[in-house]
Amino acid sequence: MEHKKDIGTLFEEKLQNKTVTPKNSLWEKVDTSLTQRAKRHKKIYWAWGIATGILIIAGIFFSSIISENYNDSSKQPSPLAIPIQNDLKTHTNPVISKTDSVDSISKISENLDKTTVNTSDKKIKESKVERVEKGFDSFRKKTVYRYYNSQDGTTIETTNKAFIDSLIRIEKNTIKLDSTN
């Protein structure tokens, strides 16, 4: 009787240390594939490089803007020290600029006091205007806050929101004082 063996073992023995030669075109396929992948990798590296470069430039640009804005706001005087136009009452649409004299702050307070005596129809409006200024620094975004007092038609424009807030606070306090009196 013929000797029987496990078929798995027989396959193992038969296929051990055997090799088969592939078609000659196989190397060409591998070579083409390697070249294509190298090109693709190059493109990806370039894209990454460009993207990183853009990010770095954008980062530098925005950080310089942020630091400049921070410096601008830190340079601005405190609300009480902000110079206000002398003749608020005479101008129909007076705008307080940074260059106006310092002692006029008392006047605006006085003016607010006066306006708040008859507060029934007084309207204070605070609005926010965003301006894009083109110039040497190109495309800088600036937020301007506008304070409008309908009673005397006073308009105050500033980039310092704290100043507007302080004006509103002063006025609120005045209203409270009036009501208690």
Binding site: L10, L15, T21, P22, L26
Partner: protein, 180 residues
Amino acid sequence: MSSEEELIERCKKKNRAAQSELFEQYKNTLYFLSLKYCRNQADAEDNTQDAFVTIFEGIKNYKGKGSFEGWMKRITIYKAIAKYKTKKDIAMDYKDNLLEDTTIEENKMKLPLEQLLKVIQKLPDQYRLVFNLYQLDGFSHKEVANLLSISESTSKSNYHRAKQLLKNAILKLENTPKNT
């Protein structure tokens, strides 16, 4: 530095001549390995191509631990597994399978290599992978189970089922008239 180490170093520098040399050295081994794991010759060629591309791109990660040929063989096997691995767990009660005789007379295996490969290639994908990994490449059932995301008992049952199918195929070939 041995000639193989030198060749590997040159391949790490993406030297195309070195890559061609390495390909020539191992193409037959890896192609034969692919023939055992794949369904047909065309798939085996694709698998060998993919394996070589992965080898050349990943050769920088080869740290010289273990045999280089073994490392290349593993890549080739993993490529084939990725190609055919199914999430379907063809589980069977392997204890029932064990009852079936998987022995065969040695003289019935006197078939040309090409025919033996075809018999393996005709096995269902998961059976073929399990049979190759366990029987021909020395992986344990635990390793096979991990590689194919199946249970160990499924691996055992698939292995026994594969042997039954191989035996049937060989007996069928034996009974086929040689002149047809």
